[in-house]
Symmetry: C4
Subunit: 271 residues, 4 copies
């Protein structure tokens, strides 16, 4: 029994064996197809023609993911830890909605089911599990977390002040009906999105808008600067771990087997 | 008396003692709630229903901040210096409007009061005080100040020239009613905001707009480059201050207590 | 015969001899003129007046490029390799459409021909051949390929989740008619393009939009950070290859012949 | 005579003496006021009320700048060189339009005069002369010129291809009336400006638009990367020129007189 558990464990959690790799690939395609069905089902014309097929696909994958979920709990050395881990919760959330849709019936069930169905899109998050390369990016973001927080607080404080000014200057007559709406407009402007659903009409309002745009245009440089500085350091550190033992030069990619300068074999994580 | 002053001083200005930390936290929440009340009060539907409650909240916090302001003056070793410091002025500005609203009455008082009320949002600026991490960012901006000034002058000169060209090419018939409005359009375009409230209609106008966009698209690289270069230097300098005395490696975070490479204790600001 | 082949080969493939340089220049102008004719022919007013001339230009260059294509095959040492190389395929694709337009006749031929004609614009891609400087950029992108892939997957997953949320929150009544359309809106927002053809109307929708914008605004920092970090390394490496043998200083441009610090001659790719 | 010439020369060209500095300041204000008059004169309501005053201001400064121009020629050691230098030409162009407006009279003179008047805004370019700090930025741009050229060619080729595709997919019915207009739309989209005056209506068109946006969003990283990498190198080089002779540390600002680490005096441009 324990032998079979270990075997299934290797297939489901392992990524080195051929069986484990195949399982991961199948899972990725299953996630993509089931999400694709939800997305296409939302198009009115496709729903009327293929609605039943989409329902079949949905239930097929829901059952498949349910079996997979319980297998993961069964195999896991520490089931409780898995259940409350990030991916344990994502796995659970991605199967619950379909079952919930069976229980809740009534007059306004349509909207609710749609809401619940949509949540299954979180299955896509599972894909993240398959990416090892994301680590360098995440570590850089982690190192920069405090500076990014300061940046966001600055942007939000700025948005409140500019939003209030615009509410007073332009007023409800020009679409700035309340301070929250003015703040929404300010963020649309500062982030340089610029829908144009609300635009300043008065000369003073346009002047403040101009200043806000130039501010936003410059402020965008700050997170870029922070992340670039951290990333450059992080990439440099990763590259410098590996030095060629023949010519001594560094800066090889993580998966290089030969020195890019002299062609000698690389020993890997040396020194 | 002096003992009590010192005690209150520790609570209000100090950030290391539990009492000082608690006071800071309470102050942040008080600022957020009072700003929130102003913002929500501006929504017409909420004003008619909860207008009185918002007024109560406003006055409660106005009195609280007034007491805090005078306490700060009373405690401060150099009261005049505090009053004319950046935060002293912000503290004053954030309580004045509510009192001013009492004095000014008349026909067109409504708009004035609204204007005054809005100013109290500057209370939010107080939040900046609680951020030490902002220093690296500010120092980088300070080092880059001259280059940023050159950049802004270039952008503004460019906006004037492109604005004038567009005024002549498109003219009042296509929404470019005056040079100031054309300059407003140019900045909307160069910063890549692009509301679409004014758009070029002639072929020549669209060609100039295209060039302006590509210029703006490239020019955004300059402040990013400036700030990144300064930030990378600044972060590197901060990290390099701290060297592990065991393995000699650097690049630790400012609050690290152990070397991230060999685990040995870090002495802090060494050599 | 072989001597003539070698001679033509020098003209067509060579870039060092005066004849080879002239051939390349003529080719670039020929490509620009033929593409220009297709572009201008699409303007209705120009088509009615100069349509015949554009057709003459088109056929003249089609025949020219056909002769050039067969010459390249004839001259090439390994014709099959050339035919299936990137530029071999581009060369073929850029002449096929004109001939295809002769064969396909019928009721709906107009649209097809237009489609085919437009493909000839790919001729412009030939221009890339003439740029050596692109190498540093491409190598940086190649080194960053995995991180860029992770970034794109993250953006797409995010777009799916935000798109679904907006579909549920705003619904078909406010323009979010299906999940694919909501995803389209999300990408328009996250990339800060912001057409404004679809905009959130509900308070909750505007709040989600605000969060999406701030996310997009920050996320833009990640590819910039990745590419900057790689580019800085790559440029540094290229510059450092060349050291002045007189004063020992580095960081010269790739085509410098003299040291920018002491003026001594540079030996090139030394050490 | 020669003594007086030298004296005036010191005032006009010099920037070190008090008189030279005052002259430069007066000139900057004169430029700003004369440009401001042109800009404000373009506002219809202000033109009807203050039109005459704006004309007086215009002529006052035109005469002033004329005197200044001839003084510069008179004083200059090599008058021909000055006349054909960048600023010599700018100085000339900034005074010509006002005189030209006197000569050209007739039916459609209004538009012409406006065009000519607007050209005087180029006077603002004179401001550039007063900025020394721009040098580091310009040198970085110069070092990056080839990479920026490659980048622009790539963006333009891409815009042509996407523009053609959108013209075929969406067609004149949805606002994509010609390939030039489609290319205009593509650049509006790729640069993330997004006016929304033309938007894709078909599903395929929206898909291509989405890909174009993501491309544009990523491509913006390339010029930023190029300029950041060059700037970081350039700033580093400038900072490293100056080393403290006491503690040996580098990275001081160009105008620092004392070492920022140990406070010792800096000798300046030392090895």
């Amino acid at each position: 029994m324990s032998g079979m558990r270990a075997k299934i464990g290797l297939v489901i959690f392992g990524t080195d064996t051929p069986a484990g790799k195949l399982f991961d690939l199948v899972l990725i395609y299953a996630i993509l197809i089931s999400v694709g069905a939800v997305v296409l089902d939302s198009v009115a014309s496709l729903h009327t023609r293929f609605g039943l097929w989409f329902a079949y696909i949905e239930w097929f994958f829901t059952l498949l993911f349910t079996v997979e979920y319980f297998l993961r709990i069964y195999i896991s050395q520490r089931p409780v830890r898995y259940i409350f881990s990030f991916f344990g919760l994502v796995d659970l959330i991605s199967i619950i909605p379909s079952y919930l849709a069976l229980l809740i019936t009534g007059a306004n069930y349509l909207l609710l089911i749609r809401m619940i169905r949509v949540l299954r899109v979180f299955r896509v998050l599972k894909l993240v599990r398959y990416m090892e390369e994301a680590n360098v990016l995440l570590r850089s973001l982690y190192l920069a977390r405090r500076k990014i927080f300061v940046f966001f607080v600055t942007v939000i404080v700025l948005s409140f002040i500019v939003g209030c000014l615009m509410f007073v200057v332009e007023g409800p007559a020009h679409g700035f009906t309340s301070i929250p709406k003015s703040i929404y407009w300010t963020i649309v402007t500062i982030t340089t999105v610029g829908y144009g659903d609300i635009t300043p009409q008065t000369v003073l309002g346009q002047f403040i808008a101009t200043v806000a745009m130039l501010l936003g245009y410059s402020i965008i440089a700050i997170p870029t600067g922070i992340i670039t500085a951290e990333l450059a350091g992080e990439i440099g550190r990763v590259r410098n771990e590996k030095a060629c033992q023949n010519c001594g030069r560094r800066s090889h990619e993580a998966d290089s087997l030969h020195c890019r300068y002299c062609g000698a074999g690389l020993a890997g994580e040396g020194k």
